[in-house]
């Protein structure tokens, strides 16, 4: 991990963290990691290994099913349960799904919304959290903090119907509107995640910069924001997964078919696919692939990011 948390505590915690984060681990971290491994003097638990291995199949089976069905011809699929390996690989399913769901447009929309939401969230929510964290003793900022927090308990259905009226009046029933909504709705949880962390950053760091004549904004961008890297990762991952996979918000907000996101495209074309499962599954796989691939390569980083968000 490039940026060490400023609040690294006991060695136990360090070891636990090392176990999570090692994408760019240096020799020191690797040594510590090996020591952690040696510290665990327990014998290998084969019963647990067996249980975990067998249960992990339940996670993989639906993915296996998606892959084999998408490669079959409709005739072959009709003859079996779906789980058999395809005799000939029918890649044409992917080409057809690509055409029918207008895949390039759907993925471009989803990517635009996701990237926009993540960037705007990181740049704006961290600022809000900083101002709140440094002034939490003032009634105004404390009030704002609890106001945002209380919103976590408001379920989406109550907002849904009036929100759609509002966005369409404002002309925000498009990708830009969704970016704004993800950024604003994310405030509740993200400010909560950021503030706890910012409060653990020693204020001396800022005061040194202030003495040198830096403004509050400058202090934030050049001193605090770089220190927030671990929390930025956490918030970024949560926002990315949410915006990429979300179904209900695009469903109710977007009005132009050209603005469709990937999940929305699957929903809309579900009716057209009808019993054309092979093409439909090719389409599902293409919709799931981008995040799945990112996850495969950044797996440890993603998991540690989510874990960090959960231990507050």
């Amino acid at each position: 991990m490039t940026t060490a948390a400023p609040t690294s505590t006991s060695t136990a915690a360090m070891i636990a963290l090392d176990d999570e984060i090692d994408t760019t681990e240096g020799p020191a971290a690797r040594r510590r990691r090996r020591r952690a491994e040696n510290l665990d003097t327990r014998k290998i638990n084969w019963w647990a290994t067996g249980l975990i291995a067998v249960c992990s199949l339940t996670v993989l089976i639906p993915l296996y099913l998606a892959v084999v069905v998408s490669l079959k011809s409709p005739e072959e699929l009709a003859g079996g349960t779906g789980f058999e390996l395809p005799t000939t690989w029918d890649w044409a399913n992917f080409a057809e799904a690509w055409e029918r769901t207008n895949f390039p447009q759907a993925i471009a929309n989803t990517a635009f919304i996701t990237v926009g939401a993540v960037l705007l969230t990181l740049l704006s929510n961290s600022v809000v959290a900083y101002a709140i964290a440094r002034n939490i003793h003032r009634p105004f900022f404390k009030g704002v903090f609890f106001y945002l927090l209380a919103a976590l308990f408001i379920p989406f259905p109550i907002i849904m119907l009036p929100l759609v009226k509002q966005t369409s009046i404002l002309g925000l029933d498009n990708q830009t509107g969704l970016i704004i909504l993800y950024t604003v709705f994310g405030l509740s949880l993200n400010v909560f995640i950021y503030t706890a962390y910012i409060r653990s950053i020693p204020i001396e760091l800022e005061e040194a910069a202030r003495v040198d004549g830096a403004s509050t904004w400058r202090v934030f961008w050049s001193v605090i924001f770089p220190l927030l890297a671990p929390m930025n990762a956490t918030v970024g991952i949560l926002t990315c997964v949410w915006a990429w996979n979300d179904f209900i918000l695009p469903l109710v907000v977007l009005s132009d078919p050209a603005a469709r996101t990937l999940p929305l495209a699957q929903y809309v074309f579900q009716g057209q696919f009808n019993t054309d499962y092979t093409v439909a599954f090719a389409s599902y796989l293409m919709a799931m692939a981008p995040l799945l691939l990112i996850y495969v390569f950044a797996q440890r980083w993603v998991i540690s990011g989510v874990m960090r968000g959960s231990i507050k």
Binding site: T7, V184, W217, M288
Partner: protein, 314 residues
């Protein structure tokens, strides 16, 4: 999530808290906060109020009218609310959502806890398995749901023709379709719960178990006297978040049954969506949503209090 604070972490925050306090008293002497801080917060709060709080208030307002979503409207007092309690479809939606949410919450947490314990034991290929179990988290529920739909409607009847309920498409069976929705929900939600429980388990020092086994405590005793009490804060937060999330189930239902057969698996969110956007019941369904907000808040708070009191008992 503030309540998941563990003793060690609390120590740290409060230590820093005091420290931070010292810095702030210095600033308090200067009076009001620097204007820059207000500039950082106010625009965001205004946007939040506009896109989040305003729709809530507008919703509450229209719930006392007969607005259909278009055209003119009049105030009709509380009759939307009165009608809701006599509406069989709405009551059925609450029945389905609660039944589904309770079963899914319990199953998700039991399974996630067992898997997390397994992953926390010394096993072969631990990091790989942990990575596998987290996969469902990055997949869209709707899209995975369509894969499950094929599995339930086309594969299962051929794989298990001897089991009556599964032999002919469980999804078209009004009495059992909800089970399929539970399966999808647990499959997807367990991923996140496992990670939270793992984070909790890793905060327990290993020496505790060594001491316990020296004293002759067996595996179950170690779990019930050490592990579970020490991760009970994580248990509370997982239970509350799961139940709240499952009560609002939408994507799962759309993908698997679309509320059917008939309205057997229609959830509250789906009912509000359908009635509000397609059925010309804008005002009526906002009234439904207002009730839903109250129900969810009350249930979450109750659950929180009960679970926290149980936490304190340990």
């Amino acid at each position: 999530m503030a309540t998941t604070t563990l003793p060690e972490v609390t120590g740290r925050t409060s230590r820093k808290g005091v420290y931070d306090g010292a810095g702030s008293t210095r600033r308090k002497a200067l009076g009001r906060a620097l204007p820059a801080y207000y500039w950082m917060v106010v625009p965001a709060v205004v946007l939040f109020a506009f896109f989040h709080t305003l729709p809530v208030l507008v919703g509450v307002f229209f719930s006392f009218t007969n607005y259909a979503g278009y055209g003119t409207w009049d105030f009709i007092g509380v009759s939307n609310y009165v009608n809701l309690f006599q509406d069989d479809r709405a009551l059925a939606a609450y029945g389905f959502s609660f039944g589904f949410a309770i079963v899914a919450t319990i199953l998700t947490n039991v399974i996630a806890l067992v898997i997390a314990l397994g992953l926390n034991a010394k096993i072969v290929g631990r990091n790989t398995f942990r990575g596998v179990y987290f996969v469902p988290y990055v997949l869209a529920i709707l899209v995975v749901g369509y894969v499950f739909q094929f599995f339930f409607s086309n594969s299962l009847p051929k794989l298990l023709p001897s089991i009556p309920v599964l032999a002919e498409n469980i999804l078209s069976n009004p009495d059992w379709a909800w089970v399929a929705i539970v399966v999808l929900a647990v499959w997807q939600a367990a991923a996140f719960s496992i990670i939270i429980y793992l984070a909790g388990l890793q905060t327990i020092p290993g020496e505790l178990y060594e001491a316990a086994s020296l004293d002759g405590a067996g595996a179950w005793r170690q779990f019930s006297r050490i592990t579970f009490p020490l991760i009970s804060a994580f248990f509370t937060i997982n239970m509350v978040l799961s139940l709240k999330g499952f009560l609002q189930v939408f994507d799962h239902v759309v993908a698997l049954t679309n509320g059917g057969p008939g309205t057997a698996t229609e959830s509250i969110t789906l009912l509000i969506y359908r009635g509000g956007f397609q059925g010309g019941e804008f005002a009526y369904q906002t009234a439904n949503a207002v009730i839903f907000v109250i129900v969810i808040t009350v249930v979450s708070l109750l659950q929180f209090r009960v679970l926290q009191r149980r936490e304190a008992d340990f």
